[in-house]
């Protein structure tokens, strides 16, 4: 993947527009359908949240830049559905199913959707105890990359690679996206909130008072003496 999505610290994007509110105006009614389609297809159980993020990250960088938010979601969804065998390219192109899908029995039902969405999915798991204590100094992996899958999914942003920070929270063990996104198992490991000074990340131009905190998995981190 191009890492076009890894935007933290990128320059030249222009100002933030606080008036850019919700997308669900009349002119953008299809956004509701795009969101609903993505959520509904998640009920089919053929992928996980990490795989769906990775699918959007795999979009051609020119598409990623040009697409609106929900266009990215639909692009990622189409790729996932074909990759996972839910639909064929021909079915997608024609809009007509070639037959009854073998996963149709998993389709979302109106009376269960709300409860499932409100409950969410837990990502905490019973796994090894954390190695790092609160207050411990740690250094992040550099470069930011998926060690097991070249070019694969990871949740270590490039701007925080190779930086020294301090553990501020232990979150317990969480499903490991670098593995789960590639259907290689949940491989849960301890997750931490790690605090970095802004100057560690951005240099002397940053405000010396400021800090950035990221949630980082244990294998992204090494101890600092």
């Amino acid at each position: 993947m191009s890492r076009i999505h890894d935007m933290g610290g990128r320059l030249g994007t222009g100002p933030v527009d606080p008036k850019d509110g919700y997308d669900f105006g009349e002119a953008k009614d299809w956004h509701k359908r795009a969101l609903a389609l993505n959520v509904a297809c998640g009920f089919l159980g053929q992928w996980n949240i990490d795989a769906s993020r990775h699918a959007r990250e795999l979009l051609d960088p020119q598409d990623y830049t040009a697409f609106s938010y929900y266009e990215k979601w639909m692009g990622g969804l189409a790729d996932l559905m074909v990759d996972r065998g839910v639909v064929t390219v021909e079915e997608l192109a024609s809009g007509q199913a070639a037959g009854v899908s073998p996963v149709s029995f998993r389709a979302a039902k109106p009376d269960t959707v709300e409860a499932v969405l409100m409950n969410g999915s837990p990502y905490t798991r019973d796994a090894a105890a954390p190695v790092f204590a609160v207050g411990a100094k740690v250094k992040t992996r550099r470069p930011a990359r998926n060690v097991a899958v070249p070019g694969g999914h990871t949740r270590l942003p490039a701007y925080a690679a190779g930086a020294v920070g301090e553990i501020v929270l232990q979150h317990g063990a969480h499903v490991f996206p670098d593995s789960n996104a590639h259907f290689q198992g949940e491989a849960a490991e301890p997750l931490y909130a790690v605090r970095f000074t802004a100057q560690e990340l951005w240099g002397a131009e940053a405000d010396p008072r400021d800090e950035v905190v990221l949630d980082l998995w244990e294998s992204y981190l090494e101890p600092v003496a």
Partner: protein, 118 residues
Amino acid sequence: MVFVENTDEVHNMVVCTLCSCYPWPLLGIPPGWYKSDAYRARAVREPRAVLAEFGVMLPEGKKVRVWDSTAEVRYLVVPQRPVGTEGLSEDELAALVTRDSMIGTALAQEPLTEEPGA
């Protein structure tokens, strides 16, 4: 869910630089600006400039702590209680808390004050 409290010393704000992670069950669907390239790119690098674009000017000396939502843990900012709200009820206080103040791109609203002599 982790609640991070704004105080005299620190102002917290939340971003997701890698995608658009957001506390859906509590705040609903994220607004467009939260998902924009500009917010995702700049909130971690120049949070004070981003805050200024939202009209938020922090007092001299206050620290800005930005939380980048890189995992499934969701962060919600507890805005600082405005001065002059000592007598307000829970409902009246809740009415001062906006969506943006819980993301950290706004402060809690000031309470409406009665006109002098009204």
